[in-house]
């Protein structure tokens, strides 16, 4: 068995000082194995966004350790974290977060442009981006700009962008939060397909229906893991 993708020990995140100190995370220890689809749920203020930011290497915990793909990243600096995000992570945001007035291909290319290890030519990057957009079903929308696309299409561009650097972990923050139910279904089915192809996905959501796609649901409350629910139905489906 290879190392887990995510392994955290006693993650704490404290905002403010002294009496005003707020423990956004208060000792979170979780493990996500390679190929797992995990949902993180919890009411607002439960610390799920904070956990998300730490898992996404956008913030460093006040204390505790975080191993991503077997590498201790708790003490990395800004530049090192940026490099980790670039090579190992793919982000899917609630608000899509595509660059405005920039074509789908250009948006998807972005992670490759900041990659200092691969050194692809522009043509290779564009080919790879087109491949990703084709995979999410947008082969005829390559040169469309975000404002020319529906919400569901924009989120699929974002998914293509999250996949283009072949990350070890996809982090999805409320991926259907801005979508109608039909688009939500499409996006969740796309994530499910990715999971079935072996991608590791961690998704933050407050929606039960969306969470049901995950194999495991981690419930947070007041900065602590409240309970972990295994979704046998999803697991069985993947196994089959």
């Amino acid at each position: 068995m290879s190392a887990p993708i995510i392994e955290t020990h006693d993650l704490e995140q404290v905002y403010g000082l002294g009496d005003a100190a707020v423990h956004a995370l208060d000792g979170v220890s979780i493990t996500v194995e390679r190929g797992e689809f995990v949902a993180i749920m919890g009411p607002s203020g439960s610390g799920k966004s904070t956990l998300m930011n730490i898992l996404g290497c956008l913030a460093r915990p006040t204390s505790g350790t975080y191993y991503l793909d077997g590498e201790d990243i708790s003490d990395l600096n800004r530049r090192q974290l940026a490099a980790i995000r670039n090579r190992k992570l793919g982000f899917i945001f609630q608000a899509y977060n595509l660059l405005p007035r920039t074509s789908a291909v250009r948006n998807v290319i972005l992670p490759l442009i900041y990659d200092r290890t691969k050194r692809l030519t522009m043509q290779e990057m564009e080919d790879r981006a087109s491949e990703m957009l084709t995979m999410v079903g947008l082969e005829d929308r390559l040169d469309h700009q975000p404002h020319e696309l529906s919400g569901g299409q924009q989120q699929r561009v974002a998914i293509a962008r999250a996949l283009v650097n072949d990350p070890v972990l996809i982090i999805a923050d409320e991926p259907t939060g801005n979508l109608d139910s039909k688009s939500s279904l499409e996006i969740m089915n796309l994530l499910k397909t990715l999971h079935e192809r072996g991608r590791t996905i961690v998704m933050v959501t407050h929606d039960e229906e969306t969470a049901a796609y995950a194999e495991r649901i981690i419930h947070l409350r007041d900065g602590k893991v409240e309970r972990i629910v295994h979704n046998e139905k999803t697991k069985a489906r993947v196994a089959a």
């Binding site: 930011n53 996404g56 956008l58 913030a59 800004r78 530049r79 940026a82 490099a83 995000r85 670039n86 090579r87 982000f91 945001f93 977060n97 595509l98 660059l99 405005p100 007035r101 972005l110 992670p111 442009i113 900041y114 990659d115 522009m122 962008r161 650097n165």
Partner: protein
Amino acid sequence: MKWREILRVAAEAIWKNSVRSILTMLGVIIGVAAVIVMVAVSAGTEATIQEEITSLGTNLLFVQSNFARGGLGSNPNRGLVFDDATAIAEQVKDVAGVVVEQNASANVKANGTTLENITILGTTPDFPSVRDIGVAEGRYFNQLELDRKQKVVVLGSSLAEELFGNANPLGETITVGNVKMTVIGVMAPKGLVGEVDYDTRLYMPITVVFQKFTPSNLAKLRGDRVRLIYVEVKPDADPEEVITQIELLLAKRHDVSLDAADFTITTQQDIIATQEATTAAFRSLLAWVAGVSLIVGGIGIMNIMLVSVTERTREIGIRQAIGAMPEDIQMQFLVEALLLSTAGGIIGIALGVGGAHVFGRLSEMRTVIVPESIALAFGSAAVVGAFFGYYPATKAAQLDPIEALRYE
């Protein structure tokens, strides 16, 4: 991140806000154009003055009476006299020619025409070669005619035309004042040099001028006083060497020490150097003015770059989340600032060069585009962009990705 990509993104950002970008560049455009036009005007002025100085001739030394020391009355022996010029010509080595001038004026009658108040220039035979003025017809007078004070004249080109029209003036007799003189030559046209028109003058041996037109009782005692002696140095000779020889000779003749000499010797280079020092001071003033306007332009760039960073906070957050390093973000905005300032610089250069041409056409002033001023202006624009872009770019690079992503 690839340079091409950085440039593309920066160019797009500028292009998408084209009106704002042009307004931002305006400070730099005006600064750069001002540098080029002002330098062109001052270089044009300088060139004109230099031409005037060199048109006097080449390799010239100017020996002048120094009235400031001692003054006229303090020592009757002081000041240059005509015999000094003869002595220089005969005794100093490496001298190509010596010219002395004495001006006078008189009415000139010839062929039934009378011209009033014609300037007479009494000179020596070396005058045409030392002062680079050719003789078109006939000849200039020679040393023998000078020594014998013969009544011969050479006419300035336009004077010859006024007096004789198309007829040949050579050998004709004209009356200058009340002296009858024989025309032996006509000068080639020289035109205006500074304020002096050489073509309307009458040239004759200086000895004749001393005797007939500017007689003085004092001259009988100690020789004919002259103000200025032109000495042409041979091209391959060392002017300093010649200066020393003249100084020693004149000091001996005037019985003065070199420290208290009653004459000064200057070279054309000295005069040009003085001129250049003046224009250099003028130019450094212009440089300050231009520098200030470039700084104002730079502040404009910084201002708009700060606005741009704020507007694109979310974009910065997205790029950071996706793996852009702080230096990637910094470089992106720095290049954008540089692109703004250098584009402004290029537009400014085009306007400046065009403006200098138009200015030269429309005004009396001559303008000369100085290539260094273009390089300097462009370089300053780039430096201004880098300097004033640095702070906004660094600010962008230091944004926290989580905060930036949350920015609406």
